[in-house]
């Protein structure tokens, strides 16, 4: 018997189901911790994140300042605790908004052929501008307010949901069981809810996972560039302190760590959700 590879057969992920499930739990727990810490920031942070002491700049971690201090003497631990809020809020809000916009546009497109062409073109054009670049332009022109940032990120992300939903509608339309429904004389309502909807939800959970990851990365990118809201923010902290990499690595190190943990947890949770969605999609396709 000649096999060209010893890897497990097609479709099997390198990560065994047990490990994947552990990843999902770890991700969920991590995310939960970050959310809780961000909400409880006023209570948990030992210092006012903006309180600076010019006599205590760039101090190494010590019992008084477990994460050290930055260039103007602010406590880094407090800033890290507070720094998750902007990213968290932006990610959640932008992801949800993108879903809403995607669904609205999807419904609009289904009203007629002309509407469909127009909406699809708009989606294509939106996809023609790289997300971060589009965000930079918009924020430069309109100012870095939370609302603007959320809107701009949502605008970059909705075409993905839209395309997936639209492809699914087209796919379902061609399947025999949809025709069978027409032959059975079923109402439009019945056809939408029974034939179309059940397949859409797993698809949307996959795209939501992808969107959350991308939006989180874009949001941190924006704050790194100084285009985020004016609050302690991990991205901003990293940008400010990057010049002190050799003499005070903790200043950018701890916010980096927090950021990576946050993004990792989002990825793990997204992977778990889309994993389950893919399984349900496979099952419904009779595989």
């Amino acid at each position: 018997m000649s096999t060209i590879t010893a890897a497990p057969g097609s479709g099997v992920s390198i990560v065994a189901p047990r490990v994947r499930a552990t990843g999902a739990v770890v991700g969920a727990v991590l995310l939960g911790v970050i959310v809780v810490v961000s909400i409880a920031a006023p209570v948990l942070a030992p210092y006012d994140p903006e309180a600076f002491t010019l006599t205590a700049i760039l101090q190494a971690p010590s019992p008084a300042h477990p994460f050290g201090t930055d260039e103007i003497g602010r406590d880094i631990l407090s800033r890290v605790i507070w720094g998750g809020r902007p990213v968290l809020v932006t990610t959640i809000a932008a992801t949800l908004l993108s879903l809403v916009i995607g669904l609205i546009m999807g419904t609009l497109a289904s009203t007629g052929r002309i509407a469909d062409t127009i909406v699809t073109r708009i989606a294509d054009i939106q996809l023609s501008i790289p997300g971060l670049v589009f965000a930079m332009l918009a924020i430069a022109l309109t100012g870095a307010h939370l609302g603007n940032i959320v809107l701009v990120l949502a605008l970059s992300a909705w075409p993905l949901h839209f395309r997936v939903v639209r492809a699914h509608a087209a796919g379902v339309r061609g399947l025999p069981f949809t025709e069978a429904s027409t032959l059975a004389g079923s109402s439009a309502w019945y056809r939408i809810t029974r034939n179309y909807l059940p397949g859409v939800l797993p698809l949307l959970s996959v795209t939501t996972g992808i969107t959350a990851t991308v939006v989180a990365l874009s949001a941190t990118g924006l704050s790194y560039l100084g285009l985020g809201v004016v609050l302690p923010d991990w991205g901003r902290m990293i940008a400010i302190s990057k010049g002190h990499l050799s003499d005070a690595p903790w200043a950018s190190g701890f916010p980096s760590l927090a950021l990576v943990l946050f993004l990792l947890s989002v990825q793990l949770v997204a992977a778990a959700v889309s994993g389950r969605a893919r399984v349900s999609l496979k099952r419904s396709n009779g595989v």
Partner: protein, 329 residues
């Protein structure tokens, strides 16, 4: 029966024909048309964005304008005219490179950007090359390497980089290779080695996805019927792996590269910022900091144009490597 002697008598030696896929005029036309429409859409978007700020003439004039500047701009772009008139003027000006002067340099922003363009292209090309080589190698190894550890470790490490923003990766690289080891410069573009760290950092944005998609594609093909048929021939298993599995798995990789290009361009902005690499991204950020709107607008248009063109090329390339795609076009 074929008359062998007549075959031998032919002057040219017989060869197995290989088909050179030609580009169908229709598919090239379609790609170009799509690109033009996309570009037009971007320009329209920018146009409305500028108008929506309420005060376009003041926006595009310098921070402390003379009396004459806004008036000159209004004349050039027609801000006091009807919407349609403004739109046409705007498109005309942008396409011919007729931008309002940059604040800092009091010169046409296009010149500034054209000077920065080669740096961005070099960085993008280098990181794309590294990403493709790394991604394909790791993806291939994830399926065909000898033992389980060799198969799963590299790709898992690469996946960890997906959760790390490019500027954090960059910081780590600087910390290790510049600060601690002193092998490579921390930034700028003074020496040829300066491109190494930024290119590596940027490549790690795309490499994990390439590896994952390549791996998935390989695994799907490994049980394909034509691979079984190839195994039944007297050719080495390595030939089977390379010619019949890997070569056929490249199409999804090309698609992914097209999709991820946006992320690459966005990432290049961040990378240029971190490494002080004098490309378009860095110019854009400097412009944002100094509120130099003409440069920002010009930069966005240039970046979008690059993106659209490269995507069109990727589309055309997909046709070349997949004969069946010809049928759909």
């Amino acid at each position: 029966m074929i008359d062998m002697s007549s075959l031998v008598a032919q002057s040219a030696p017989l060869r197995f024909p290989t088909r050179r896929l030609r580009f169908r005029a229709s598919s090239v036309l379609r790609s170009v048309l799509s690109a033009i429409i996309a570009l037009w859409g971007v320009l329209t978007l920018v146009f409305f964005a500028i108008l929506l700020t309420g005060n376009p003439a003041t926006l595009l004039a310098s921070p402390s304008p003379t009396k004459a500047q806004p008036t000159a701009l209004t004349a050039q772009f027609g801000f006091d005219q009807s919407l349609g008139e403004q739109y046409v003027r705007f498109l005309g000006n942008i396409v011919t490179g007729n931008y309002p002067d940059s604040f800092r340099l009091s010169a046409n922003p296009i010149d500034q950007l054209l000077a920065a363009l080669p740096y961005t292209l070099a960085l993008a090309a280098a990181s794309l090359l590294i990403a493709v080589v790394l991604g394909l190698a790791v993806g291939y190894g994830a399926v065909f390497a000898g033992n389980r550890a060799l198969r799963s470790t590299p790709i898992t490490i690469l996946a960890a980089f997906q959760a790390t923003p490019v500027f954090v990766i960059g910081l780590l690289l600087i910390l290790l290779f510049s600060v601690r080891l002193g092998w490579l410069p921390t930034g700028g573009a003074r020496t040829p080695q300066s491109i190494i760290l930024p290119a590596v950092a940027l490549s790690l944005v795309m490499a994990p996805r390439i590896a994952q998609v390549f791996r998935a594609s390989l695994l799907q093909l490994v049980d394909a019927e034509h691979v079984r048929a190839a195994t039944a021939k007297q050719i080495s298993l390595r030939t089977v792996r390379l010619r019949h599995v890997a070569a056929n798995s490249l199409v999804p990789v090309v698609s992914v590269i097209g999709l991820e290009l946006g992320g690459l361009l966005g990432g290049s902005v961040l990378t240029e910022s971190l490494f002080n690499w004098p490309g378009i991204g860095a110019a854009t950020i400097a412009a944002i900091d100094s509120k130099d709107y003409p440069v920002i607008i010009a930069a966005v248009v240039v970046i979008a144009a690059i993106f659209i063109i490269v995507n069109a090329l990727v589309d055309l390339f997909t046709v070349r490597i997949d004969p069946r795609a010809e049928l759909n076009l």
